[in-house]
Amino acid sequence: MPKVTYREAINQALAEEMRRDARVVVFGEDVAEYEGSFKVTRGLLKEFGPERVFDTPISEAAIVGAAIGAAIGGMRPVPELMTVNFAYVAMDQIVNHLAVMRYMFGGQVRLPVTIRMPGGGGHQLGSQHSHSAEPLFTHVAGLKVVYPATPADAKALLKAAIRDDNPVIFLEHEGLYNSSGEVAEGLEAGRIGEAQVLREGSDVTLVAYGAMTHVALEAADALASEGLRAEVIDLRTLRPWDQGRVADSVARTHRAVVVEEAPPVCGIGAEVAATITERVFDRLDGPILRVSGADVPLPYARQLEQACIPHAPDVVRAVKRLMQGAW
């Protein structure tokens, strides 16, 4: 299978969906002539022209609102917010319009909007540019939230998102753009809402998503060298999320650690822990632990920032605490 980067995989998904369906349009700040500030939209303007790929002013709220209107008007917009940090200026359009409109209008509109947003920390971008905003979006009924960890998933799930008749927040990790992986020729749309077991194991379940999936895999390697078999589950989709698959795994392993880049409070880890504990309480040998991002805005300085982001040794430590009953 050909190896492609996460960036290319997303680019392929966009191009293929645009070829497949003339109603798919891409717009956002610097996505057309500049080809995206992370170069994800490279070549799209050239192939599809300015009617379908166009630049916008720095107006995120209006970008999202325009996507909503365009969707009602029969298009399938795939706006890009340059990074997730700028989604906050569009929060009202996302939470109070996009997420609720179908519901409050009694089902009269379909909102096939996919908002792409690169995010995450690790590049010393400081407190206003390094958010992991997935807990905020995941909280909101009416949205779907996807966060792929691999090029293949990025491609398959972006296709699924674009074909989905509901609003989808599609999160991309800036730190993964250059990562590469196998993507089958002609890969088709994936399924939103399905987690994937990336590695089987019987001692503990590591639940992760996005960039943290790779941290969990690395931790599983480290644990393996100490004789501990960790099962690694990549959630891939945060809303709806695959409760069944995670619960099944934890029922078998009796222990779980959730790894998330976002800060912990009211986060993905909390949701997974609360839900899974409820589902398999009797099978648990200990509480479901969280390894989360630090509960601070991300600082600029390199080591300080790195200290905010979970790494494999943090996960290993949590697993050991769990094994030793020392939580």
């Binding site: 109603r23 349009v25 009617e51 379908r52 166009f54 916008t56 002013p57 107006s59 709220a61 209006a62 970008i63 999202v64 609102g65 325009a66 996507a67 909503i68 209107g69 365009a70 969707a71 009602i72 008007g73 029969g74 298009m75 917009p77 009202d92 359009q93 109070n96 319009h97 409109m101 179908r102 519901y103 409050m104 209008f105 009694g106 089902g107 009269q108 509109v109 379909r110 009924a141 009416g142 779907k144 989905d164 008749d165 509901n166 939103i192 809402g193 709806p240 839900t275 409820e278």
Partner: protein
């Protein structure tokens, strides 16, 4: 316009007015809940602005939305049922007063967030333009909305992409209890809008004729692909901001001043001026509308709320994505 057309305009204004009277009654009787904003006094704005639209055109506006829905041809029964929260309301009772919508007639709501609908109008215009359709978008909003950031973003985009939009600012001079000079550095809404490079005009929104003529040009311009137009309609709401506002911040004299400009008597006088028209003719229209509204109330009285089991419907297109978790109260 011939007499028949004018009588039709009169009927629309009267329908919008009389509907609000019924709403106020039902609200007072506790059959309607939530926030409820009446359009009383501003009828000429909406009737005039929508006069030149075709069925395929898009309309959207604020929470003060009963009139838009009715003028575009919405069924008063479904409107009243919506206010009662019933399943045969135009939004199945999920929207309520602030969120009327009828996709079938391209009326896309009824929004509660001041200014929030403006970029959605941009999107509708964008779709019409890029899909090569000749649709026009009319977007209503208040004077207060011009202080909301997203409004500016939307106006800029509208001109930048030369979208087929008619922006209609209902300048009723108050945002709840705050008058325009106390909230806006520039009091003229059209002067403010001129910063977005499109024709912008201020007109007497209490005058149907002025409204329809300025909107005729605006709609034609939009339909011809020449871009958006901004209309500031100076008008007045006779009632408080919503049913719960006694509107003590306005003087009797001020209200009286605007009552003198009431668009309905003005319209009757205008019709009488240009054509022969007897009282009876107006009375007939009013009686017909009255019957329609009584029927609407009766219809609403007969309705029911959606059963609670259907709470999770309409959230996602694929209903399975909705997750009534064990945590839910229902």
């Amino acid at each position: 316009m011939n007499k028949k057309e004018l009588m039709r305009a009169y009927r629309q204004m009267y329908l919008a007015r009389a509907f609000e009277t019924r709403v106020a009654e039902q609200y007072t009787r506790g059959r309607i809940g939530g926030f409820c904003h009446l359009y009383t006094g501003e009828e000429a704005v909406a009737v005039g602005a929508l006069w030149h639209l075709r069925p395929e055109d898009y309309v959207l506006g604020s929470y003060r939305d009963h009139a838009y829905y009715l003028i575009r041809g919405g069924d008063p029964r479904k409107a009243m049922a919506e206010l009662f929260g019933h399943s045969d309301g135009c939004c199945k009772g999920k929207g309520g007063s602030m969120h009327f919508c009828d996709a079938g007639m391209n009326f896309f709501g009824g929004y509660g967030i001041v200014g929030g609908m403006c970029p959605i109008a941009v999107g509708l215009g964008l779709a019409a333009q890029r899909l090569g359709e000749k649709r026009v978008v009319v977007c209503f909003f208040g004077d207060g909305a011009t202080n909301q950031g997203v409004y500016h973003e939307a106006l800029n985009m509208g001109t930048l992409y030369q979208l087929p939009i008619v922006w209609v600012c209902e300048n009723n001079q108050y945002a709840i209890g705050t008058s325009v000079p106390r909230s806006s550095a520039v009091e003229s809404m059209s002067r403010k809008a001129a910063a977005y490079g499109m024709p912008a005009e201020t007109v007497d929104g209490m005058d149907f004729f002025k409204m329809q003529s300025v909107s005729e040009r605006a709609v034609a311009r939009a339909r011809a692909g020449k871009g958006p137009t901004f209309i500031e309609a100076k008008c007045y709401r006779y009632r408080g901001h919503s049913m719960s506002d006694p509107a003590t911040y306005r003087s009797k004299e001020e209200v009286e001043f605007w009552r003198q400009r009431d668009p309905l008597p003005r319209m009757r006088a205008a019709i009488r001026h240009d054509f022969e028209a007897e009282d009876r003719e107006f009375e007939e229209v009013e009686a017909e509308v009255g019957r329609l509204l009584s029927e609407a109330v009766a219809f609403a009285e007969r309705g029911r709320e959606l059963p609670v089991e259907r709470l999770y419907e309409d959230l996602y297109v694929d209903e399975a994505a909705a997750s009534p978790t064990s945590a839910g109260p229902a």
